[in-house]
């Protein structure tokens, strides 16, 4: 397996604070790569660097051998949905899908055919509703954005917090779709999430970011969820033992 995404010496500094520092990271083709971490850990920064939306201070990101800030060729086989700035609010969902489809060399009937597999996910709320994307609910906007990223089966798909804001049914369906894409199309997924159980279910490898550095890199197995839960609650448990946490201290002691 060769590396789809490979990162060397990547560093991003804002106002003298290093928010991301990754000496080396390789993501092989066809891997579903989960990125977990607390707020401010650098997840979105990493994805923005991979998509060349921000410039690194040092180091490089290569996508299928193409250094992302030197050539634009990686855009042909990469799809992404980060946030609402990836949606065109004044289009209807269909028009949005056609727009992206056309950019990826698909005509209308190709796109329509592609969209059929998402009938369940859309739940009758997206297509043929004669509504602009700006008038859809937050959750439905997100569905449209995620599907937009999948159009044309790009080899690399980057999703930032795809499970947040979705209802439980849609979360399950989305997990199915991700599994299907990896199994059938050998798609490389980069998925960030706060939700440990979703991530462990769907990702074959999980990397934990903490304050911009990789602190854990595990191949998912039956024990992974427990391991992650232990990791993320560690600080809290220690605090409790030391008596730092106010909630842990009996009320009477506080008087």
């Amino acid at each position: 397996m060769n590396a789809m995404i490979s990162i060397e010496n990547l560093k991003k500094v804002y106002n003298g604070v290093t928010v991301l520092n990754i000496p080396h990271l390789e993501i092989p083709t066809g891997q579903s790569f989960g990125l977990v971490g607390n707020n401010g850990a650098g997840k979105t920064t990493l994805f923005s660097l991979v998509l060349d939306l921000i410039a690194p201070n040092t180091g490089t990101v290569s996508n299928n051998g193409i250094i992302v800030n030197e050539s634009e060729d990686w855009k042909r086989f990469t799809g992404a949905f980060m946030d609402e700035s990836f949606l065109i609010s004044y289009l209807t969902p269909e028009e949005y899908f056609y727009f992206i489809g056309e950019l990826r060399g698909l005509n209308k009937s190709d796109v329509n055919e592609f969209l059929q597999q998402f009938t369940e996910l859309f739940n009758g709320e997206i297509l043929n509703k004669r509504k602009y994307i700006r008038d859809l609910s937050k959750g439905n906007q997100k569905k449209a954005g995620i599907v937009g990223a999948l159009i044309g089966y790009p080899q690399v798909i980057i999703l930032d917090e795809p499970f947040a804001n979705l209802d439980p049914t849609t979360q399950y369906r989305l997990k199915d779709i991700i599994r299907k894409f990896t199994a059938e199309k050998n798609t490389t997924f980069l998925i960030s999430s706060h939700d440990l159980s979703h991530t462990t279910e769907v990702c074959s490898r999980i990397v934990v970011l903490n304050k911009g550095e990789i602190t854990k890199d595990i191949q998912t197995n039956t024990e992974t969820l427990k391991e992650l839960e232990a990791f993320f609650s560690k600080g809290i448990l220690e605090d409790t033992r030391r008596g730092d946490s106010i909630n842990a201290v009996p009320f009477s002691n506080r008087l």
């Binding site: 998509l51 060349d52 939306l53 921000i54 410039a55 634009e72 855009k75 042909r76 990469t78 992404a80 980060m82 946030d83 700035s85 990836f86 949606l87 065109i88 609010s89 004044y90 289009l91 209807t92 269909e94 028009e95 727009f99 992206i100 056309e102 950019l103 990826r104 004669r130 509504k131 602009y132 700006r134 008038d135």
Partner: protein, 487 residues
Amino acid sequence: MIKTFLSLEWKAFSRSASFKLNLALKIILGIIAAFYLVMILALGVSVFYMLKEKNLEPLSTVNKYLVYWWLLDLVIRYFLQKSPIMYVKPFLTLPIKKGKIVSFFLGKTAISFFNIYPAFFFLPFSIVLIVNGYPVMQVLSWHVAMLSLVFFNNYLNLLIDNLDRVFTAVLIVLVSFAVMQYYGWLDITIYSTPVFQAFYGYPILGFAMLLLPILLYRYCFSYFKNVLRTDEAVQPRLKEAQTENFTWLEKYGTLGTFLKNDIKLIIRNKRSKSTVLVSVLFLFYGILILTNKTHNSETWRLFAGLFITGGFLFTFGGYVPSWDSAYYPLLMSQNIRYKEYLTSKWWLIVIATFASMILASFYLFMGWKIYLAIIAAGIYNIGVNAHLVLLGGAYVKTPIDLAAGKKVFGDKKAFNVQTLLIALPKIVLPLLIFYIFYRNWNVTAGYLSVAILGILGLAFRNKMFRIIEHIYKKEKYATLAAYKQKN
């Protein structure tokens, strides 16, 4: 409470991303404002004696022209007075009475240069009147009436900004007055002078004028309070989506895809729609300037021609790529070449400029020489200016809120040194070239030189595009970061 609001206002100002630019701009604006205030003050003190010297009755002479001031004041306010923006959403769920939020908002608009400058004229003028033996009560009544008009304009402008129907109504009234006045069908001063005179003659009338701003304030108050209640989110005014297909554009490949999107962008968003409407008004700019005898020289014709054909170019083109600011990250990560993206915008500008040239053929009625100037200017706009606006756009970096329909011209943030430098050759360069050839040879040579410059620009299109593309790439990260700051 008001103290809290005020401190929030200050923080919003001093912590905004464009603070440094804001401050410099505010200092410059302050100096300009101070200059005008001194001039107005001098006029207020001296106008009485100046008119007296010419054996005119000062007050009735001033009254004769007041209607122009009043209407002009409204127009200037529309373009320059920014309606204050308050971010009310966070306050709505806090224990603050809605009335308080609205009255702070409305009160804030009262503290504006546009409400203060009239006092610099009317106060000294009224004092001079009283000193010269005009009855105090009557002068006071007249003064109160003027003050009322000032604040009436203030709140009317607020409504114009927020309510399309008020804007349309005021626009129709103003334009029809202006046209009638221009062609001498009607002299409004004949009707307005007695009205202004009555504020002096019948003090009760002058004081009654106070009702005007008070009633309008109450209307604004109830309107904005209502808006606060029926938030867009609570009562969505969903219009059924139009689904134009523009299938005829599909044969142009990626270019067609973008053009399709740009047309949808223009017709489905308030902000872009009003911009394009304004650009149509540019077509008639020539009537205004060329029917004026002093402005009917060949150079002025070319000047007018640049604006007549360049309406869309200047108003819409000047904000490329900001029109796409809301989804710029999408465009930057899709399979899009900058060149394709820019070419689509370029075509849009070129088509609109070309259409303006054809629509402007009604200027033929004013003489074929004028139309010749328009053609030459149009070619220059297509060949040179279309590239220059795209180049300037790389530096604009003002995110555009497509849903907001306000202030087509009002974005002061859009002014910075780079855009100004790039804006200069758009107008000054062709005029200069024209003037050189016109002086040394003749008019035809002048227009021809400008047109040839335009054709040269077209010939070097690919070279120009490479330069623009390079700059867009260089500015990419800064642009993305700037668009992220919606403020």
